[in-house]
């Protein structure tokens, strides 16, 4: 029995009538000869570019960004400079963002845009409120890469846990840089830097936590497929 005959026999079984199966089989055959829609002309070239990127590159990139974002500030200021309230705030924000970015990218996108726009609309304030102004600069720069990741996810692009971690780490590093440039004279600068570096580590750990179960499951599936 050829494969086509086998398919026809199975169609007849589920339809309960061999004659009707033959008619339907013939009707559907009109779509067989249709030319496939034209593929993207650079499909193979794009695939080749992606194939040369080894699987370890993204984790290595995250580690590199982490190292550069934490080694300097920690070495300069020391852990004792950390402000506990800010660190706890960073933990809460990082946890919330990681959870939101996976489940509701639109919300993260709106949040990122709002965080980017608000600091531009409010002037610096004297005294303790200046700290808030500095934190807003951090937030603005840190949120933009994560907002981009959320936008990509919203537009049906695959954004893995490792990608989220890398985006978050890049954002945190950018925030760090913004802080150093715009608020370098503030007395709590050291605490903010350490708090931010902690956020980088936390974002990466959360990214890894999101990625690890999928990676393990994909590995199990691939073994089962083989």
């Amino acid at each position: 029995m050829t494969r086509e005959e086998q398919i026809l026999r199975e169609m007849a079984e589920v339809l309960g009538d061999p004659d009707e199966a033959r008619v339907l089989h013939a009707q559907l055959s009109v779509l067989e000869d249709e030319p496939a829609p034209a593929p993207a002309t650079d499909a193979l070239a794009r695939l080749r570019r992606q194939m040369v990127v080894p699987g370890w590159l993204m984790p290595a990139l995250v580690v590199l960004v982490l190292g550069s974002a934490t080694a300097g500030p920690l070495g300069r200021e020391g852990l004792a400079a950390a402000e506990h309230v800010l660190w706890i705030g960073m933990v809460v924000v990082s946890l919330g963002l990681s959870a939101l970015a996976v489940r509701t990218p639109k919300t993260v996108l709106v949040g990122a845009l709002a965080a980017a726009l608000l600091p531009a609309l409010t002037p610096p304030m004297p005294g303790p409120m200046d700290l808030v102004h500095c934190a807003r600069f951090e937030l603005m720069t840190a949120m933009l890469p994560l907002g981009f990741a959320a936008f990509a996810s919203w537009r049906s692009q695959a954004v893995s846990g490792w990608h989220l971690a890398a985006f978050a780490a890049c954002g945190a590093s950018a925030g760090n840089a913004a802080l150093a440039v715009l608020c370098s004279g503030h007395p709590t600068h050291a605490g903010l830097v350490v708090a931010h570096a902690s956020g980088v580590w936390l974002a990466a750990l959360l990214g890894a936590a999101v990625a690890a179960p999928r990676w393990l499951r994909a590995r199990g599936d691939a073994r089962a497929d083989a």
């Binding site: 199975e10 009707q27 009109v30 496939a36 499909a43 695939l47 049906s156 073994r223 497929d225």
Partner: protein, 184 residues
Amino acid sequence: MDETDEDLARRYVGGDSSAFDALFLRYQPRLRAVFARSFSDHQTVEDLVQATFLKLHRGRERYDPSRPFRPWLYTIAMGLRQDELRRRYRLPPTAGEEALVGAEAEQGEPQVRFSMEPSLADRVRAAIDGLPESQRVVIQLHRFEQLTFEEIAAMLGASPGSVRVRASRGYGALREALAGVEAS
């Protein structure tokens, strides 16, 4: 004579990149047709085709040359289809095929369209497009990719019985929609 899929896959795993190109050119149009039956937007279809070959490439060491190539490739493709559907239905990564069918049913059953288009191809296409995705994918794999119900069940991680039920409903709806239409 064309090389078999398995010969190409063996050469590709052995490091011959031209064999990968041959497999890509051979299967890319078919995978696009399969994904296009499930997803209407062009970009998603292109992304899923790319992701399928990328996953194939990253798992090539695990390919067993003594086993057929096509089911392996289609199993990867169907896994990515499920990932995309889970994302759309906001289901956890552990949700299987039955959970996807359940989520689809909650969204409401589409209506099979009785098209009055003049060409048979348009009428057939409209009838298939009117089926739920869970039935379209089974009919695409069965009728057009010539895969048996057993093979489809293995690829989707579903039971052969549930695949037969989906095929029965899909073919039944198509039979009604195309009743009296002459096949050329």
